[in-house]
């Protein structure tokens, strides 16, 4: 059993609730309120992983989301979460975590051999080598690099947990519930504003949890608890704990709530995480600041930590991670950490400050500990744990001090990332030694340490003011604030960016193993922009997003290129401000629930009849119906086609877009959107129409029926239903608002079934009885009618996609299933056969009708043999552009029928067409096959294709070349209509 570093008392952990967890297979104990990091430190486990490139031993470095070192894989199996920061994981009973990027263990890692090659593996080394021989890159070098890439591993298993999204609207979003955030929320909440407080941590308070200062006469942590309690009583305030705001977007903020990450497994119906999209009129960014580390030789050993993290572990978690602690600082704050640590019972071995001028009040904070001013740490030793530091004093004398823990503090960097997401830029403040943001997103104020208001009193005051201002901006009136009295504290940043010393590496980016030498080399090689530096060295690109490295890196760069930090500038912050699980962005929409499913009214009836379904956009359509004994789809489809051609079949065609068009000017309107004329369409008739885009290419086709003088119903293809609706609305609202036209989609209202085949009329007669006369005389080809049977309104259209005598009958969708069943029942004696989209497609190909594969957005009406429909008497959308030289070129590929010379051969869609005997080359490609089908009537495969000068070439033998399927066939060019060319059947 290892030593316990837990203090006997103090901290915000609950010693009455012990928790067991395992790390790298070993069981440890912690308490409720611990993070994984604090619990590990309490168990004297400092070394938790290895660095990315050199596999150097690395320990816990921070106490928050800026952690560069302590990345673990949390949980196992399908729930494994690689690269999880131990410093942010809330401890739960049964937690299981393991170290990463080391084998067999962080204590003994075979890849540590990388360190020997350290001098070679500097910034950008790979750009200069691994080029010879060329083939070796992919075979040898790259696999080796890839094998050592990354830190943790995904399980490769499907994520078993669920995610959800939620929207929220508020007057004020407070990001961060430290002193400034709590003060802002209280001020705005008391004024009556709708406030959302989002705090990444599982406890509100931020730095208050790590401080022993007094506020309003109570301890900082108690004040935070009181503030939380008051906010809880305000119905207009919502507190979101475990919720990190990760981005500012136009008009909204993104936040991620870790709903059940602190539980072993999410309970039923509870998502793992919830993505919040928050629309806030005002925002107070009170995200605090991150302490900057110091760059000096040997600064990466386990035991070297941010000084403020030591303070947090002591005061919040009751853990002092070492026995002898040194502090190395360039700011007053380092001294305060020393003070707090001593107060908690740690032994401070030495305080080293690079500054020569430190106020006596600040120096007092170190108590009796030895102090060195104008000095720095110039070397360290200890492989798996710090054992000694070397101090170079102001006179240049060095001395070694035995310590196991070193707290470093170079002052603080305000956390302004979110403020810059909309394009604002951090600008360097010499006074504050920090990047501040002034051009914030609309409605955002920055308060507290995020605005470099370092002292507790300043943070509370400015936070309250920001909250009050936000409330007044939303019209609630500026209210006087009761001052919050906090104990005073001095604060000052005096940065020194790089300390010389031994030849050991001085790390800038601890996770990506970027050293000060790397930064210098990049500058030497001409990478003088901070963005180029980042890209060349990978500085700041690790999972900590450069939170501990960016400022130091660019300051060192500035020194190298002899510019100021202000001139050098910072890299642009990009969302997400904290890494967010990909699953959370998807919410419910993963796997099968990626998109909604649309079912036709006859779905269940079709399933019962043996249908196999296929996705058609969001719709599920019956593709074919499996009859007993049938084992392959072609048998089923062929049977269905034969049945339709010889007797009667039914097919649900409800998925076609249906648009009701009403008003006195619909005829005129349709004349302008279709290439052919509709104003002359009589009531009770249907006409086929083609519409173009304004650029002259075909947009869609379909039939439009005139049900009454002022009421038409248009059908569109299934896939283009939405697009056509939008187009028609555009034409009406933008181009021709003067027309009396109203339109609305009725796709959902009507279930529509095609009844096709020579016996379709008999079937309908059985179904309708004497309710409606469907004799050829009364109801000829292209007739339409609306009528009622009982209380049920029905629509009947005599249209045909199959080329047979055919109808489409429509009923309100609630009757759709019954209609399908009634048709099956009525046709029983006729042997009615349900058919699916495959048979539908076979019959339209036999008939030479174009569909999706010909209406591909690249064809003009003439290509499809529809040129004669283009009216010359009127304007219509696309007419002018359709007359362009390339669109009327007679060499354009045009619709033809195709059949194999050897009738036993199968045609394949996508084969390219060439004249017989030519060697395929781009210049002689004459077109391609668009559609193919086995034609039961012809008893061989047939196809449609687009062939240059196609109509002139009927009878010619051509070549169909299909190298991706090793196909090469001779085809005969024929008329695209393979069945009933004169159309006698459909008029029967």
């Amino acid at each position: 059993m290892s030593i316990s570093r837990r203090l006997a008392s103090g901290g915000l952990i609950d010693r009455s609730k012990p928790i067991n967890f395992t790390f790298d297979g070993k069981t440890y104990g912690g308490y409720a309120g611990d993070t994984l990091a604090s619990a590990l430190l309490a168990n004297d486990t400092m070394l938790v992983g290895r660095s990315f490139k050199y596999h150097r031993p690395r320990g816990i470095f921070s106490a928050g989301p800026e952690e560069p070192n302590a990345l673990v894989t949390l949980r196992s199996g399908a729930r494994a979460e690689p690269n999880t920061k131990a410093t942010t994981v809330e401890l739960f009973d049964g937690l299981d975590a393991s170290s990463q990027n080391c084998w067999p263990s962080p204590n003994f890692d075979l890849r540590a051999v990388h360190q020997l090659a350290g001098p070679l593996l500097n910034a950008g080394f790979y750009y200069k080598t691994f080029m010879w021989p060329a083939a070796f890159w992919e075979k040898f070098y790259e696999p080796a690099i890839r094998a050592s890439a990354g830190l943790g591993a995904l399980s490769g298993l499907d994520d078993p947990d669920t995610y959800e999204k939620s929207h929220a609207f508020c007057d004020l979003l407070v990001i961060g519930a430290g002193p400034a955030g709590l003060a802002a929320a209280l001020a705005a909440g008391r004024a009556g504003a709708r406030v959302i407080v989002a705090e990444e941590d599982f406890v509100l308070g931020g730095r208050l949890l790590s401080d022993t200062a007094q506020i309003d006469g109570v301890t900082a942590a108690s004040w935070a608890a009181l503030a939380e309690a008051e906010l809880g009583t305000l119905p207009n305030v919502r507190i979101l704990k475990r919720t990190a705001v990760f981005g500012a977007y136009d008009g909204e903020y993104g936040a991620i709530e870790r709903v059940s990450d602190h539980l072993p497994v999410p309970p039923p119906f509870m998502p793992r995480q919830r993505l919040w999209k928050i629309v806030a009129k005002q925002c107070v960014l009170a995200a605090g600041a991150q302490e900057r580390p110091l760059v000096f030789p040997g600064n990466d050993r386990p035991g070297i930590m941010l000084a403020s993290a030591l303070r947090t572990y002591a005061n919040r978690f009751g853990v002092v991670p070492g026995q002898r602690v040194a502090i190395f600082t360039t700011s007053d704050d380092g001294w305060r950490s020393a003070f707090e640590l001593q107060k908690a019972g740690a032994e401070i071995a030495v305080v080293v400050d690079a500054r020569t001028d430190v106020s006596p009040e600040v120096r007092k904070l170190a108590g009796n500990a030895p102090q060195f001013l104008g000095a720095h740490v110039s070397d360290t030793s200890g492989y798996r744990r710090l054992t000694n530091i070397t101090i170079t004093d102001s006179a240049g004398q060095t001395r070694s001090v035995a310590v196991d823990t070193l707290g470093v503090s170079a002052g603080w960097s305000p956390s302004i990332g979110i403020a810059t997401h909309l394009g604002g830029k951090g600008s360097w403040s010499e006074e504050k030694s920090a990047f501040l943001c002034s051009d914030t997103p609309p409605g955002m104020q920055i308060a507290g340490a995020a605005a470099a208001q370092w002292s507790l009193a300043d943070a509370l005051e400015h936070g309250a003011l920001a909250g009050a201002k936000a409330a007044s901006h939303v019209g609630l009136g500026l209210q006087a604030q009761k001052p919050i009295l906090a104990s005073d504290e001095a604060s000052c940043n005096n940065p020194v960016w790089l300390f010389a010393g031994s030849r050991r590496k001085a790390f800038v980016d601890l996770q990506n193993d970027v050293t000060a030498t790397d930064v210098a080399l990049a500058a030497q090689e001409g990478f003088r922009s901070v963005e180029q530096l980042k890209r060349y060295t990978t500085l700041g690109m690790a999972t900590d997003q450069g939170k501990t490295s960016n400022v130091n890196g660019l300051a060192i760069l500035a020194g190298e290129i002899k510019k100021t930090i202000a001139e050098t500038g910072a890299t642009r912050a990009r969302p997400p401000h904290v890494p967010v699980a990909i699953g959370a962005f998807a919410g419910l929409h993963s796997g099968k629930h990626f998109k909604p499913v649309r079912l036709t009214a006859s779905h269940a009836a079709s399933a019962a009849a043996g249908a196999t379904f296929v996705e058609a956009g969001q719709w599920m359509r019956a593709q074919w119906f499996n009859a007993p004994g049938e084992t392959d789809w072609l048998t089923s489809v062929t049977r269905e086609v034969k049945a339709v051609r010889s007797s009667v079949g039914i097919c649900d065609v409800s998925t076609l877009g249906k648009i009701a068009l009403c008003g006195s000017d619909v005829g005129t309107f349709l004349d302008r959107v279709y290439i052919n004329t509709f104003s002359t369409l009589p009531v009770g008739k249907v006409r086929y129409g083609v519409m173009l885009r304004e650029d002259g290419f075909v947009m869609d086709d379909g039939t439009t029926a005139r049900l009454s003088a002022d009421h038409y119903v248009m059908t569109t293809t299934t896939v283009n239903a939405g697009k056509v609706m939008q187009h028609l609305e555009y034409c009406h609202q933008v181009l021709w608002p003067e027309l009396d036209v109203q339109m609305v989609s009725v796709t959902e209202q009507w279930a529509q079934v095609a009844v096709a085949g020579p016996q379709s009329r008999e079937l309908l007669q059985v179904l309708l009885g004497d309710a409606f006369d469907i004799s050829n005389e009364v109801f000829p080809y292209l007739a339409c009618a609306e009528f009622r049977v009982g209380n049920i309104p029905l629509r009947l259209f005599r249209v045909s996609f199959s080329g047979e005598l055919a109808y489409e009958i429509a009923a309100p969708a609630g009757y759709g299933e019954a209609l399908f069943n009634a048709l099956m029942q009525a046709g029983k004696a006729l042997g009615v056969t349900p058919y699916g989209t495959e048979a539908l497609s076979v019959m339209r190909i036999e008939k030479g009708h174009v569909a999706g594969s010909e209406l591909n957005g690249q064809t003009v009406a003439c290509d499809l043999g529809l040129g004669r429909m283009m009216s010359v008497k009127k304007d219509y959308i696309g007419r002018t552009m359709a007359a362009r030289e390339a669109l009327i070129d007679p060499d354009r590929p045009t619709l033809v029928g195709l059949r194999p010379v050897d009738r036993s051969q199968r045609l394949r869609n996508g084969s390219l067409l060439f004249a017989r005997g030519v060697t395929p080359a781009p210049d002689n490609n004459a077109g391609f096959i668009t559609s193919t089908a086995f034609s039961p009537g012809n008893n061989h495969w047939i196809g449609l294709g687009l062939l240059a000068r196609g109509p002139e070439r009927h009878g010619e033998i051509i070549r169909a070349w299909d190298p991706v399927r090793s196909g090469d066939l001779e085809l005969e060019v024929v008329d695209p209509v393979f069945v009933d060319a004169e159309g006698a059947r459909l008029r029967a």
Partner: protein, 192 residues
């Protein structure tokens, strides 16, 4: 004589989880129509609606009317009219009543209708709707045509309980229920 059975869109609505965070009931047998003002007839239409139904035709996204007949603003010059007093052929007679003033298109079967209420309702709706539905921003009578989980919906608030009515494209009823069950499961979905 052809006699077809009618199936409602939300026949598969069921209870999920423990509790009654959201209480859902399908509204069946409601006549629904899209009413669209004819060119230049907006004022005359409003007058006719006032006269014949004693309803102030809403100009914006609001509903007005009685339990029996409501006019819900769903777009400029466009309303969704619901009628649940069981008058047969309501849509046909509505078209006749508004003849020349508005085009009336039957949508009774195009959507499924749910009545939703319960203490967790607003939190659950927030999981799908990107519109502020708080009492202040969306008082009773408000209408929103919007989307939930990639599905178009029309929802309107009938009282401050709060109770919402929601219309969903019929073909997507199954997917809508999946969203509702997943979103309301934590607090319980009670089907009535």
């Amino acid at each position: 004589m052809l006699d077809l059975a009618h199936i409602s869109a939300f026949a598969e609505l069921r209870s999920i989880g423990d509790g009654r965070g959201v209480i859902a009931r399908e509204r069946r047998g409601i006549a629904i129509a899209t009413v669209m003002a004819r060119k230049g007839q907006g004022a005359a239409l409003a007058a006719a609606v006032k006269e014949q139904f004693d309803i102030n035709l809403p100009r914006g996204p609001h509903g007005s009317g009685s339990d029996a007949t409501s006019f819900l603003g769903t777009g400029p010059g466009r309303w969704l009219v619901t009628h649940d007093a069981g008058t047969p052929r309501f849509v046909v007679s509505l078209a006749q009543q508004l003849d020349g003033l508005a085009s009336v298109v039957d949508q009774s079967d195009g959507v499924g209708l749910l009545r939703l209420t319960g203490p967790a309702l607003l939190d659950v709706l927030a999981k799908g709707v990107a519109v502020d539905l708080s009492a202040a921003a969306f008082p009773a009578g408000s209408v929103a045509v919007t989307q939930i989980a990639h599905m178009g919906v029309t929802l309107w608030k009938v009282d401050e309980a709060p109770t919402f009515h929601i219309a969903v494209a019929r073909s997507m009823a199954g997917s809508f229920l999946h969203w509702l069950e997943a979103s309301a499961g934590m607090t319980g979905l009670a089907a009535e």
